[in-house]
Each structure stands twice: as C-alpha cells, then as structure tokens.
C-alpha cells in the first residue's frame, strides 16, 4: 500500500472525528436557537471570540468523551507496539495489517512504534477528566477559606493569608517534586492531603444548606441529612483506596476509586491552585462586604455564613466564572508540566505531557511524535483563554 499524503491524512482524521462534529453542530444549533433563555451561557454566543473559544474547548471535550470512555475515534490500542512502525512518518500503512485493523498510522508511530494519533485522543481524556474537577475542588477550597478570611479579617485572615503566600512562594516544580515522587507517595502524604482537601466540598455543601434553611428546621434537617449521608459516603469512598495507606471501606460500599497515581496528581494540582483562588475570593469579599445589601442583611440579623454564601458569593460570581475558565487552562498546563518531568503518571501513559517528554528526545529528526500532543494542548488552553475572554466581555456588558 502507498503511504497517504497530507491531504488524505487530513480527510481521514476529519472522517474519524465525525461524531465530534455532529455533537458540536448539535450543541451550537441548540445553544444559538435558545440563547436568549440561557443567561450568561447564552450571551456567550453574541461574542465571536467567545464562540471560537467555546468551540475549541467543546471539540476537545467531545473528542475526549467519544475517544476515551466510548472508545470510538481511536484507531489502535495505545500501548500496542507494531514491529516495523518505529518512528514512521504520518500516513504510513500498517505493516502486517490483518482484517479489522485500521490500515494506517495516521500521525505516524512514536519511538516505541505506537500509534501517535490514538495516543493523542486517549491523552485528551486524561486531561478532560482531571483538569475541570481539580479546578472545581481548588475553587471549593479557595472559597471555603477565602470567604471567612475576607469577611472576618483579623487574625484568621493574617494566618490564612500567610499560609497562602507560603505555598505561592514555592517554585511549582519543586513542590511537585516534593509531593509526587514515589518515595513521598509511599509515606502516604498525598492520601492524607486528599483526606483534608476532599472534606472541603462536603463541608461547603452542608454549610450552604444549613445557612439557607436555618429558619425552616424541618426542611433543613431533611436536606442536611440527605447531604450528610451522600457527602460522607462520597468522601469516604473517595479517600479510601485499596493499595494506599487509607483503606478501610468494604468493597461493596466503596463506589468510586480514584487510581492512586491520578489521586496523587489531583491532590498536587489542587494544592498548587487553591492559594491563588483563596486570594481572589478574599479580595472580592473585602470589596463586596462594604456594599449596602450586605449591611441590609446584617441589619436583618442574618447569620454570617448566610451573608457570606448567599449574599457575597453570588455577587462575586462574574470574576470567579471567568477565572474558572482561565484556571482550567492553567491546570492543563500544570498537568502537562507533571508529565513533562515524568512525575506522577506512568511513563507509558498517553497523556500529553508525558508524550511531549518522550517525543522531545528525538525532536531534531522526528517531529511527529511530539508535535501533535503539543499542538493539542496549545489549542485546548487557547480555547479556554478565548472562552474566558468572551465571558469577561459579555459579563461586563450588563
């Protein structure tokens, strides 16, 4: 068989991504039709920059979903090594292809003769499944600590700000080396940190409910007990992971297990991100607490947590949503950094950082193993930045 030329490779990749295109068209069609009823999300479709960013982000989200758990787009197994395919250029026909095999390595083979295209697609799933959740958890931590620090001020603020500055003064890479090396993992440090970090969302939701329904005890008790049961179950099944230091849940109860390696990088990324969010939330709180509606709530005799969570937080949402998008991008960069230094994930994992690290060693001769993951990461982060820009523009408009 003849190797494919550039145009043929391009057309074939477009064809393989068909489900992604369909999903994108459906998303955009529905969103633009109903954009007047969708609040801030709908307004995004008034800004060209925002739409371009959203399209780039959703492209990767759909690619990750279809390629990862649904296993649709990938052409080859990500760990399968085919002899004779080492460092082959894009479009090389698969040697010894049998019926049912995809007959080409569309983006070539890497230095272990694995298919670059499939690895990039699978790698997107690793990013998409970690980055938004890690950012969300970092936000929970930052908000839960930043609100009281800004609202109460005083010693609590001094102490928490000092801690945040302490973490921020660390070079990120040194912190990663200190947290993610196998020796530290063996001591169980990341698992203990996870035990602290995962408490935050549970506490956050419970305080949220309690402060809202404090005056209606029946409702509060009902909602609070539901949240407590689910929250604690979620919490314990998150932190109790077989093979690590904390492992006490019986298997039938343990619904969700994070792989230990993913847990470690998750914790590291949350830990690095949360001080910055803490500072942003604290600054916003300092600003908003002087407003009249906060004074009104204080005069009404509302509880402090009610004021923080139901008066201040909703009014800080604009900058926080924008920062959330930017921060997912930053988290993606951090995950890539971890992979680039070979920390956390195993070396054969298809995530983009590790693949770039593998590919860079032969970069002066073979470009194709390193460039696709690098450009993918670039486009995802760029999309998130453009999306944040569009959101900022639209939220400032009213």
């Amino acid at each position: 068989m003849e190797p494919l030329n550039g145009l043929e490779i391009f057309v074939r990749i477009l064809g393989l991504l068909t489900p992604v295109w369909i999903a994108l068209v459906v998303t955009f069609g529905l969103s633009i039709t109903f954009k007047r009823k969708l609040g801030l999300y709908g307004k995004l479709f008034d800004s060209t920059v925002g739409m371009i960013g959203f399209a780039m982000v959703m492209f990767w989200v759909f690619t990750a979903l279809f390629g990862g758990p649904l296993d649709m787009i990938v052409t080859h197994d990500v760990l399968q090594q085919v002899s004779g395919m080492k460092n082959k250029v894009p479009g090389t026909p698969l040697r010894g292809a049998e019926a049912g095999d995809y007959p080409y390595y569309l983006l070539g083979g890497d230095n272990l003769a694995r298919d670059v295209f499939s690895r990039v697609i699978k790698g997107s799933w690793i990013v998409i499944k970690i980055a938004p959740f890690a950012t969300l958890f970092a936000f929970m931590v930052g908000v839960t600590l930043g609100l009281p620090a800004g609202y109460y001020g005083g010693k609590l603020d001094t102490f928490l700000s000092f801690l945040a500055n302490l973490i921020l003064a660390f070079p990120v890479i040194l912190l990663f080396y200190l947290l993610v090396t196998p020796e530290i993992v063996a001591t169980g440090m990341p698992v203990y940190m996870a035990a602290v970090i995962f408490v935050m969302p549970v506490a956050f939701v419970m305080v949220l409910i309690n402060s809202r329904y404090q005056v209606i005890p029946q409702k509060r008790n009902l909602y609070l007990s539901i949240a407590a049961v689910f929250g604690l179950w979620f919490y314990f099944s998150m932190i109790s992971t077989p093979g690590t230091v904390i492992d006490f849940m019986p298997a039938w109860l343990d619904a969700k297990n994070m792989e230990p390696t993913i847990l470690v990088i998750f914790v590291a990324v949350v830990f690095v991100n949360s001080p910055t969010i803490f500072r942003i939330v604290r600054g916003l709180t300092l600003d908003i607490k002087t407003r009249d509606y906060v004074a009104a709530a204080q005069t009404r005799g509302e509880g402090t947590w009610y004021i923080m969570l139901w008066e201040i937080l909703p009014n800080a949402r604009g900058p926080l949503i924008v920062d959330f998008c930017l921060r997912i991008g930053y988290t993606t960069i951090l995950l890539g950094t971890l992979g680039f230094f070979g920390l956390g994930l195993s070396s054969e994992s298809p995530d983009w950082g590790s693949t770039i690290n593998e590919g860079r060693k032969l970069l002066s001769i073979y470009l194709h193993p390193a460039l696709p993951p690098a450009l993918s990461l670039l486009s995802l982060v760029l999309g998130l930045n453009l999306l944040a820009d569009g959101l900022r523009e639209e939220s400032l408009r009213d």
Partner: protein, 352 residues
C-alpha cells in the same frame, strides 16, 4: 516607610524559615533517606546497612535538631568510632576531609555561611549554586532585555486604540502566547527552526554550548521560549492599564485642547499606564523561574533550574535546601520591590 520595610523583612524571614522547614521535613522522610543511602552506597544495601549509613551521618536525629544544625544554631552532629587499634575516628557534618576534628568548627550552618555538601555532584552546595545561578542570570538577562520592551510596546500600542484592528491582532497574539506553556512553545520552536525535518536549521536545538559562549545561534531559542510566555501576560496587563488610562478625563481634556495623539500617548498616558505593568513584571519573576526550569531541561542548559531538577530528582537534601532558599529569596524580594516601587510610582498610594 522604614517600619513597613522592617515588617516585610520580618515576614520574609519567617516565610523563608517555614518554607525551608517544610522542604526539610519532606526530604528527610525515611523513604527519601533510604533512597539517598542506596544511591550513595549501593543499591543492594540491606536495611541494617542503610540504617548504619544514616546513623553515622547523623540523618537519624530528630528533624528539629537536624534543622537547627543546618541553620547553625546548635553544634553539629559528630559520630565517633573507636577503632581496634585504640585511635578514635570522628566524622561529622563540619569536618572536611584533611582537616583534623579538633580544628573544625562546632557550628556549621547557613548562618556561618556553610551551605552543606551536595551528595549528587560531590561539591559544596554554595559553589554549585553560585556557578549555576550565574548561568541562569545570563539567560534571564537576555530574556528581560527582549521581553520587557516587546511586551510594553505590544501592550501600549494595542491599548491606545482599544477595539481597533491593530488591537485585535495584537491581543490575539498576546492571548496565544500566554496560553502556550514553555514545553509547548519550546518544542514547536525547535521543530520549526532547528530540526532537520523542516530543514530551516537557523538555530541549534540545544543550548549546552551557550554555557561557555552564548551566541545568536545557540541562545535565541531558549530566550524566546521563556520570553514568549511572559510577553503575552505582561502585554495583556499593559493593554488593560493603557486602555483604562485612555478613557480618563485628563486625556479627554488634552485631546480637546488639541494636543496631537502622539503627544497624548507619550507625554500624558504612558507614565500612568506603566504603573500596573511594573508590579506585574516584578511579580512575574516566580513564574519566570518556573519557565527557566522547563526551558533549561528542554535545551539542556545546565543552570539553576537544571540543578533544581537534579537535586529534587536525586533527593540531594542540602543542595535542594540551598536551591529553595535562593528561589524563595527571589520570590520574596521581588514582592517587596514591587510593593515599594508601586508606592514610589503612584503618589496616590501611601503605606502608613
């Protein structure tokens, strides 16, 4: 002002102490010490051999004691072995080969200027950090020389006519560069300008030779890689600040008086617009340090960032502590300078 600086200095010292203590705890966890012993001795050491290796070198003392020794506030650990022929062999942190135990100092820590000994490079940590820091200084100097003017010009030009075509183009450029981490831009730059696959080969893909003699060919790509990321961010901040200043009342007054656009920008707007970027540039230093680590690894330029990776990867405790002291110092000093500079540049702010 004096009191403000004093208080900031006190906080700085406290921060540095806390940070080094954290690094100390993390590097002195037993699995890390075991790894150190095995990489220094041999990899098939038994558990007893590991324990005795650590014991004779004083690694098994309580962590606060070791930390105080490293600081130099309590006398250093000495290990005494009585040999068969009756002589006493004393080893310890402060006792260098070739110097008699009686002549060597009791205290040797950071306060005495003793930064410890690198187990990885077999050299005093202070010497390694000094030479590597000089190399990174050279890199950073060129980064700053190229990055700051470009970023400010891009920011000012796109901010002075907000919403124009030039603004759109330059803003897209700065968003794109600030979305590109160093390991992506570095890879793309090497691929385009240094690989035989593309064939341009304008520059070299490694900067190892730049350590002795930096020239256009081997130093452009690393400088560009670090610079690009910073350019985007600083340019965006400058643009925002410039755009804000351009809507101010005094600019409108100047324009109504008939001052030329050029003079408005250069004489009226620029000074006020550059206050915010100054702080941003100073606070960018810690992130630049991050970029330096990645870029030096990517281009194999053996500077400070490269040492950080080597020390962290091999659990070279004293070198790693030295590296963290220096980097924490850089971060805190830049914060201090940015605060003080802000006060001087902006007469509306006062610290007291």
């Amino acid at each position: 002002m004096g009191l403000f600086i004093l208080r900031r200095l006190a906080v700085m010292i406290l921060t540095a102490l806390c940070l080094t203590f954290i690094v100390f705890i993390m590097t002195n966890l037993y699995p890390n010490l075991e790894k150190l012993a095995k990489s220094q001795g041999n990899f098939r050491m038994s558990d007893e051999a590991v324990a005795s290796y650590l014991e004779t070198r004083g690694y098994l003392q309580p962590i606060p004691v070791k930390y105080a020794e490293w600081l130099g506030v309590i006398p250093s650990y000495r290990h005494t072995v009585e040999k068969d022929d009756g002589t006493v062999d004393v080893t310890g942190r402060c006792i260098y080969p070739g110097i008699a135990p009686e002549d060597s100092p009791n205290f040797c820590g950071i306060l005495q200027g003793h930064w410890g000994y690198s187990t990885q490079f077999k050299e005093p940590a202070s010497k390694i950090i000094g030479t590597r820091l000089a190399l990174t200084g050279k890199l950073m100097m060129w980064v700053l020389i190229t990055m700051i003017p470009v970023a400010l010009i891009v920011g000012v030009v796109s901010g002075m006519r907000e919403g124009s075509k030039t603004d759109r183009v330059l803003s897209t450029f700065s968003i794109a560069t600030s979305a590109t981490p160093e390991y992506v831009s570095g890879v793309v730059l090497i691929a385009v300008f240094a690989s035989s696959a593309v064939g341009l080969k304008f520059f070299k893909g490694t900067a190892t030779s730049a350590m002795e003699s930096a020239n256009w060919e081997n130093f452009t790509l690393p400088v560009l890689t670090i610079g690009l990321y910073g350019i985007g961010y600083i340019a965006r901040m400058t643009r925002a600040s410039m755009a804000e200043v351009m809507t101010a009342q005094y600019i409108r007054t100047a324009r109504l008086k008939g001052v030329s656009f050029r003079n408005i920008v250069v004489k009226h707007a620029l000074r006020n617009a550059l206050i915010a970027p100054f702080t941003i540039i100073m606070l960018q230093f810690p992130y630049l340090l991050n970029g330096v680590v990645i870029t030096e690894t990517l281009f194999n330029y053996k500077g400070f960032g490269w040492v950080l990776v080597q020390a962290a990867g091999n659990n070279d405790i004293e070198l790693l502590l030295g590296v963290s002291v220096v980097s924490v110092f850089v971060v805190l000093v830049t914060q201090l300078v940015s605060d003080i500079g802000y006060v001087y540049l902006n007469p509306r702010i006062s610290v007291s």
